[in-house]
Amino acid sequence: MYTFSSKLKTFSFVLMLVGVLGIGYGFLTAPKSIQDVETILASESHGHEGGHNAHAVEKHDAKADAEHKEHVEHVFHQLQNKPWAALYVACIFFMLIALGALAFYAIQQVSQAGWSPVLFRVMQGVTSYLLPGSIIFFIILVLSGLHFNHLFVWMADGVTTKGSANYDHMIAGKSGYLNFPFWIIRAAVFIAGWNLYRHLSRKNCLAQDDASDNSFYKKNFKMSAAFLVFFIVSESIMSWDWIMSFDPHWFSTLFGWYVFASFFVSGITVIQLVTIYLKSKGYLEVVNSSHIHDLSKFMFGISVFWTYLWFSQFMLIWYSNIPEEVTYFKTRIDMYPITFWGAFVMNFILPILLLINTDFKRIFWIIVMAGIIILFGHYVDFFNMIMPATVGDQWFIGVPEIASVLFFLGLFIFVVFTALTKAPLVPKRNPFIEESKHFHY
């Protein structure tokens, strides 16, 4: 049995506390009114010699005034979105890590992998974050629907009413799919489905420990197969609903796969990091360097898979350069050059160079370094997907962004390691457990 070290527990509480303070700070310092934004813009333009303000003063006609007013309102919404978007990115990122680990776990069950059963309890520990994570996420979705923020443009008032100043023909055409009731029901169904599988699968796995036959194992096998079917459908729709709908004028067909690869590799990386942590503390004697090596191969392979999808999506749109599609990448490359290309470097070039060597795949400090790079890179990947449509060129990785990550990181550590104390770290009666204990590559 694992005992939650008090040091780690304190650490997670400190992270959560710092996170909450930072998130609060982010919301308090967000501009409250148009006047606040005017002062911010004025102080900014002083820096670069006249700029916006001087321009507006010179041409003091009605048209410039209207343009200026529209611009200020635009910036106002972006700055108001900032703390919300920061919270949203961190929240969905950590929730999807748990979901990625769950998908990996289900695949291990269905493929009857002989190497991984010694890691099942670690995987269940990582997926335990799914429940609290998805509840918080669902609350954020509901708050968005109740107009506490302007994250989703298609939710704004009057977007679908003809004659309204906000009327958007394109969004109105999609309102059969993008309307709040249908959207939130889909979210509820997906979250419920994933949590149900996670709950029952864990229950069966624990019951299998004390069973006299393999019936619980067989139940888990069938349930995992069904879950994977449900997962791939829900995952695809989830990516449209929760990420792609930030840009309701844009669409991409392989987007679901791309999002999947991003959080799947993050989930595997977290399984690896937790395994290495537990092993280094002496809790997992049966895990040998071959198990670590296998997980490293997955980190390596799925990183390349992510890159394949990232590039395929980018290159197809860049090549044909159709205006309605290409704005997605145009805005990202113009406004987010560091994070856009940085994600590619962190998620592909560094992992491929660090993990291509067989010996390196067993050296803990190299794997941990690669794992941290991968996780950081995929956070930035989600940042790239969500920020341009919510805060635009007002982005910055400052207090609200870092604090949100710290809060969810603290919560993640607390939930995962608490769950790990609840059951023995190695399943007893899994049909493949002996093979797994003697796995050698």
Binding site: F311, F314, M315, W318, Y319, N321, I356, T358
Partner: protein
């Protein structure tokens, strides 16, 4: 000369063979070669053979392939005749890079794969019309053969290998 003589110890089970290899190594007899009809897992480790460096070769070949592809396309598409083909920006290599990536990738894989295979053939001395070096036809079917050099200790060696479970121990004069 006695050094031309070798022992051929023949086994009909890979477990017995592995056991015999361990014993032979422990007794400090030099194993010249082991012939098996199929890969025996862990045999190289038991014989103490150094790990292969073929993967390192492949990595280097891949880098060469990547350089060839880059140099070729940079010369053809950017330096030599930078035409406007359908509005693609051919002012600099990086500007048109996404269009070159598929070729760069395939060339990397092509060089890595083919040069590595050729390296393997050369290092293992394998080519068409090569004279097969099979000491006993049964080793391609269901028998395992260990070849050990003899240094004036023929009787001792024969006795040793008979004790390791060999189904047949032969002393061969090698030319």
């Amino acid at each position: 000369m006695s050094s031309n003589k070798v022992i051929h110890a023949i086994y009909n089970d890979d477990d017995v063979l592995m056991d015999a290899v361990h014993k032979t190594r422990a007794a400090h007899h030099h194993i010249e070669e082991v012939f098996t009809p199929f890969p025996v897992h862990g045999l190289d480790k038991a014989m103490g053979i150094a790990p292969t460096r073929l993967a390192i070769c492949a990595f280097i070949y891949g880098c060469i392939g990547l350089s060839v592809a880059t140099t070729m396309m940079n010369y053809i598409m950017i330096q030599d005749w930078p035409q406007d083909i359908g509005g693609k920006p051919s002012f600099a290599y990086y500007q048109n890079m996404p269009a070159f990536i598929p070729v760069m990738f395939e060339m990397t894989v092509f060089f890595a794969a083919h040069l590595m295979v050729i390296t393997f053939y050369m290092r293992s001395k394998l080519w068409p019309f090569k004279q097969a070096e099979n000491p006993d036809v049964r080793t391609t079917d269901d028998h395992f053969l260990m070849e050990v050099s003899v240094n004036d200790n023929e009787a001792e060696l024969v006795k040793f290998f008979e004790a390791t479970g060999a189904v047949e121990v032969k002393v061969i004069d090698k030319h």
